[in-house]
Amino acid sequence: MTRTPLRPLARVLEARAKGENPDAIERENIRLRHERMRDRMRVRAESRLLMMAVMFVMLFAVVGARMGVLASTEPSEPRASAGGESIVAQRADIVDRNGRLLATNLVTNALYAQPPMMIEPARAARELAKIFPDLDEEELVEDFTGKRKFLWIKRKISPEQQQMVHDIGEPGLLFGPREMRLYPNGRLAAHVLGGAGFGREGVHSAEVIGVAGVEKAFDDYLRDPANGGAPLELSLDLTVQATARRVLEGGMKIMDAKGATAILMDARTGELVSLVSLPDFDPNDRPVPLTEGDPSDSPLFNRAVQGVYELGSTFKVFTAAQALEMGVAAPGTMVDTQGPLRWGKFRIRDFHDYGSEMSLTDVIVKSSNIGTARLAQQIGGDRQRVFLERLGLTEPTPVELVEAPGIAPLLPARWSELSTMTISYGHGLSASPLHLAAAYASVVNGGCKVAPTLVRRAPEPGCAERVISEKTSRTIRGMLREVVTRGTASFAEVEGYAVGGKTGTADKPRPRGGYYEDRVIATFAGLFPAHDPDYVLIVTLDEPTVSALGEAQRTAGWTAVPVASELIRRVAPLLDMRPEIEPGPAFGVKLTGN
C-alpha cells in the first residue's frame, strides 16, 4: 500500500508562501485517511454480517427442512439396533405368583363383508350360515343385497373357520387381524381376572380393553408399551386357587348353598393367595350382566368383594380384642351373660342359655351375644367406631379390583348404644368377606394393619401401622385356637396345622326389613397355624343347609366349618407347610429379673 505523506512538501511550501497554516494541510490529510479507513472497515463489517446472516438462514433452513421431513414421512422402526422388538402383543400377560399364565393373547381374525364387492351374495349368505350356525341366512341376504357398504360378521374366528370362509371364494368377504384375550384356565380366578373386550375397532386392528377385575383396574399398566411387555404378576397361586375352588364347589353342593366364597390371605403381607367366589363364569365368554332382578344372583357377582353381609359372631373377636387392649377385661374376667338382655323393646338372646356369667375366653369360645354386648356397652360406641375404622371395616378395601372402591360397608345411620351392642356381635354392620379377612389378618398377625392386595409384593419390614399390641394379638390367637379345640368350630381341627378361628351365623335380612327365619350366611374366619399364623382363611356360605342329627342344620359350625377344614387340609400342604406339633401353652422363654 502506498502511503501518501501527511505533509506533502510542495503544498506546505505553497501554503507558507501564501501565509497559511501548514498544520491545516496535515489535519486535512489525517481526516481523509481516517475516512478511507472507516469506509474500508464498514465494508468489511458489512460483509461479515452478510456472511453471518447467510449462515444463520442456512442453518435454520436445515432445521426447518429436517422438521418438515420428520413430520411428513411415515414412522419406521429403527432397523439397525440389536435385540429386536420384544413387545409381541398390545396387552401384557397376567401371571400368577409362580409365573404360570393366567391371561395371554392370541392372534385371530375378524370377518367382515363389503357387499358392493360381492359377486354372489345369496350363495355367500347360504355358505356362511352353514359355517356359523348362529348366523341367520335371511338376515345375511338382506344385509348383503341392501344398501350397506360394510358390516362386521364375526369378531373372532378360528383358523379352521377362516379356511372354510376362504373356500367360499367370495371376494366381498374379508378378514382383519385381531388380537384376542385368552384365559387358558377358564373359570379359575374368573372374578379376579374379570375379562376383556374390544374397544375401538378398525379393519386392521382393534383395541383390547379390560372390562372388569384386575384387567380393568390395571388397564393402563397392561397397555403401557414402556413396560416392554413385562407380565403383571399377581399374588394368586394357581394350584391353590384350583384346589380351593374344587373344595368349595364340593362343599357348596353338599351344604346345598346358593353361593360360596373362600379367601386365603397371607396374614403378614395381605397378599391374596386364593380368592374364589361361586357361582362363577368363564372369562373367555363373559355372560351379559343381568338387567333386572338382584345383581347378586348373576355369576358375575364377586361375593368376596362386592357382597356386603352381616357377618355375625365373627365380629366378636374385634370386641374382645378392643376390650383386652383397653384393659376393660382380661381373658379370665367374668362377664355377665344372664339373658335375655333387654334394651328398650329390643331383646338380645343367645343360641343356648349359658348361665349367669362366663369368662371372656368362654364368651368367645361359646359365642355369647349377651356377653359381647355387655362388653361393648363398657367400651362405648365412639371408641368402638374408631377401632373398627382402624381395622378398615368402615371404608372400601384398597384391593386392586375395579369393583372394590365402590363397595363400602353398610354402617348404621346413627351409631346408637343399641347399634354398638349389635355390631359387637356382627349385626347392624355389613361388610364384605374381604374386609373381614383383612381385619382378621391385622388382629392375629401381631397387631399390624394389613391391606389386602392382589399384586405380588415383598414383605415390608417392621410394622407400618399398629392396630393392637403384640400381647393382645397373642391372647386373641389363643382364644381362637380354643374355639376350635373346645368351642363352636370343633370340626375345623386339622391335625398338624393348629387351626384357630371363629364361626359366624347371621340371619339374612329380608329386602323389605326384618330377617328370614331359615336363611343364613354362615361364615368361618380362621387362621393357621394359630401360634404363629401364616394364613388367614375366610369361608362364607350363602343359605347353606345340611341335615345332621336328624334335623336341618344351618349354623356355621355345621356348614362353613367342615368346608374350611377340608380346604385347609388340602391347601396347606400345597403351601409348603408340613404338619407340625403345636407348641404347648408353657412353650416359650420367660424373661425374669433378679
Partner: protein, 118 residues
C-alpha cells in the same frame, strides 16, 4: 509432476467412488437382512406366545386333575395331603452287613460261645 498429480487424484476419486458405491450396496443388503431377521424374530415370538398359551391351556389344573383321575389305575396319584409329608429320619438306611455272615440267632450264639471258649 503436475500431470502425475492429476492422474493420481483422478484415480483416487474413481477408487473412492467405487468404495462408496460398494459400501452403500453392502449397507442396503445388511439392512434387508436385518429386516428379514427381525420379521423372523417377530414370527418366532408370536409362535412362542401361541405355544405358551397352548402349554398353559393343556396344563390347566382342571385338565390335569381329570387326566390323573382317568389314569388312576396306572398312576395312582392322590391329591396332596398332610400325611404325605415324611421326614428324613423315616428313610431307612441300608441294612448293616451281618457281622458273621450268618443270620440264624442260634448259630450266632454258638459262634459267640466258641469265641469265649477260645
Amino acid at each position: 509432476m503436475r500431470g502425475l498429480i492429476y492422474v493420481l487424484s483422478t484415480l483416487a476419486v474413481i477408487a473412492l467412488a467405487y468404495w462408496a458405491y460398494h459400501e452403500n450396496y453392502q449397507t442396503q443388503q445388511a439392512l434387508r437382512e436385518v429386516k428379514s431377521l427381525q420379521r423372523q424374530i417377530g414370527d418366532a415370538r408370536e409362535r412362542l406366545a401361541v405355544l405358551r398359551a397352548e402349554w398353559a391351556y393343556l396344563n390347566r389344573p382342571e385338565r390335569l386333575r381329570d387326566l390323573s383321575e382317568l389314569n388312576f389305575p396306572d398312576l395312582q396319584l392322590m391329591p396332596l395331603a398332610p400325611e404325605h409329608f415324611g421326614s428324613v429320619a423315616e428313610v431307612a438306611y441300608p441294612a448293616p452287613e451281618p457281622r458273621f455272615g450268618i443270620l440264624d440267632p442260634v448259630d450266632v450264639a454258638a459262634r459267640l460261645i466258641e469265641g469265649v471258649a477260645e
